[in-house]
Symmetry: C2
Subunit: 316 residues, 2 copies
């Protein structure tokens, strides 16, 4: 049975109809509106738009922030406050006449990679998305790690340097504060001022440097930008080593915008995992790029709409 996955982001709402094999049959995108009623209308419109053409069994929303699964609502969403507190299931079931469930966006993306992407052949997957923040999702023993309230899998907010830089969540030294796209931008600006005679240094004289700029310059071979990504990869690896020791996963898959840098980040992360994680877990784990790209949230959410328990079943 087809299902609809909806990726509700800070800037856009993307809804897609997905087959049980993970084929995306149709997709629509609308800009996100930051007022509750407009936001609900936008989500409902995206769902009914893609539903017109295909028969579907249900909908799952991949939403940013911490969710309360029992109440199908978002408790805390730093990048989309409008979504906080809305009883999403009730509101959207009324508007669409389809069964609706809610999942954290990174958890949904992890489930997408588990069902159809980098983790499709394993039972133990750690997924991280490096974007503005660092999102995470874990499949352990074939089960999506949601925790008792559905708020589990927040891998971006583990402390890896207690005295480190301030994180968006208010703490210091979270993985997100050291290995997100935002962190790459911040560190890029610092290194640029130390190395004015590099491409990175010259760009910083012209305008504010962002994480994407650093990645692009590093891919073009700029040494200073490469250094920033290597540092980022080391911090990422410090976090990953902990996850490897905790979960003993087969695969760690890295997605999100900053993962475009590929091995420029991942080689340093792999090196740090070999230094910090324990045998035998470190010897087995493969650290690689996620394969589904930005569609992982839609694909994972659709698969969860068919299988809201988040347990691994064949052809649910």
């Amino acid at each position: 049975m087809n299902a609809i996955g909806v990726d509700v982001g800070g800037t856009k709402i993307a809804a897609g109809v997905v087959t049980s094999e993970g084929e995306l049959l149709a997709e629509v995108r609308y800009p996100t509106v930051a007022r509750k009623e407009q936001l609900l209308l936008g989500i409902a419109r995206a769902i009914t738009e893609v539903e017109k053409v295909f028969e579907v069994g249900g909908v799952c929303l991949a939403v940013p922030g911490s969710i309360l699964a029992d109440e199908n609502k978002v408790v805390d969403s730093p990048n989309l406050h409008a979504i906080e507190g809305i009883p999403l299931k009730d509101e959207l079931e009324e508007r669409t006449s389809l069964p609706v469930t809610v999942e954290n966006d990174a958890n949904a993306a992890a489930w997408g990679e588990f069902k159809f992407g980098a983790g499709s052949e394993v039972e133990h997957l750690v997924f991280l998305t490096l974007g503005t923040g660092v999102g995470g999702g874990v499949i352990s023993h074939g089960v999506l790690l949601r925790g008792v309230q559905g708020a589990g899998g927040e891998l971006g907010h583990v402390t890896i340097q207690a005295t480190g830089p301030r994180c968006g969540c208010g703490n210091r030294g979270c993985l997100e504060a050291l290995a997100s796209g935002t962190a790459i931008g911040r560190r890029g600006r610092e290194i640029a001022s130390e190395r004015p005679n590099t491409a990175l240094g010259r760009l910083a004289v012209e305008r504010k440097v962002f994480g994407e700029d650093v990645t692009e310059l590093a891919l073009e071979g700029d040494e200073a930008a490469g250094l920033v990504l290597e540092e980022t990869g080391t911090w990422l690896g410090i976090g990953l080593a902990g996850f490897v020791n905790i979960f003993n996963p087969e695969i760690v898959a890295i997605g999100g915008g900053a993962s475009k840098a590929g091995d420029l980040i991942l080689d340093a992360a792999r090196k740090e995992v070999q230094l910090r994680a324990r045998s035998p877990a470190r010897d087995l784990v493969k650290i690689k790029e996620a394969t589904l790209g930005p569609e992982s949230g839609i694909l994972g959410a659709a698969a969860l709409a068919r299988n809201p328990s988040g347990e691994y079943v064949l052809d649910p």
Copy 2:
């Protein structure tokens, strides 16, 4: 059906017959011998000793270090090198004629607390044991988190301060390096030299101060020793906040020798979790002392002998 749990430690081998309700019917203890053949003999003798009196269905060994579940052996055991590489299942099944399985000791203790102790009414439990090192075990969605090789749940070796003190595992800033009994001893000696006019300072003039001394003096009201435990609790809380964000557990249970300090450590840990973990997970979690004491390993191992899958089943 009764089963035998064997806790194989660095100094003693303890074997017990346990009912399916978690009642310990009989127990024997032998000193650990650090030679492979003698160690195997000791374990086999402990098993046959308690088996004499009661009918039992199987045996599970709770062993220190990282295990390879498929091969039923220990890969890396810093405190009991003699056990490394022994094909424990084959060797002991031959010697005892009982079915034998192998589990990491902290995982077994976590399962004990989950079945019979602090976590007996929940499905999501994080367990930590603060002793010479820091051991960990997780039950998530009612399943013991073993990972693909059985090496999962190593909560003591997540980095919480990348530039922190050296850990026994070779890295810097592991939770174990900052919140174990050993760390309490180290920090106790530092604080003692800064505060010679305290009970802790006076003891340090007489002899080397250990973690147990700090706990004892703190319980007697010594301010310097209390300060050490408060610092330890803060580091513990930094690690726990990460686990709360990752697992969204109902209960975090703390066992091991250093947990005798109770709220002298746990209050600071709770405070740090409230600062660092995210809502709604931090609002729900209870951080408390484990309830089974040193028998948790035997009780958990025996329960795993009856239910080697480590999934929650009623009356297995």
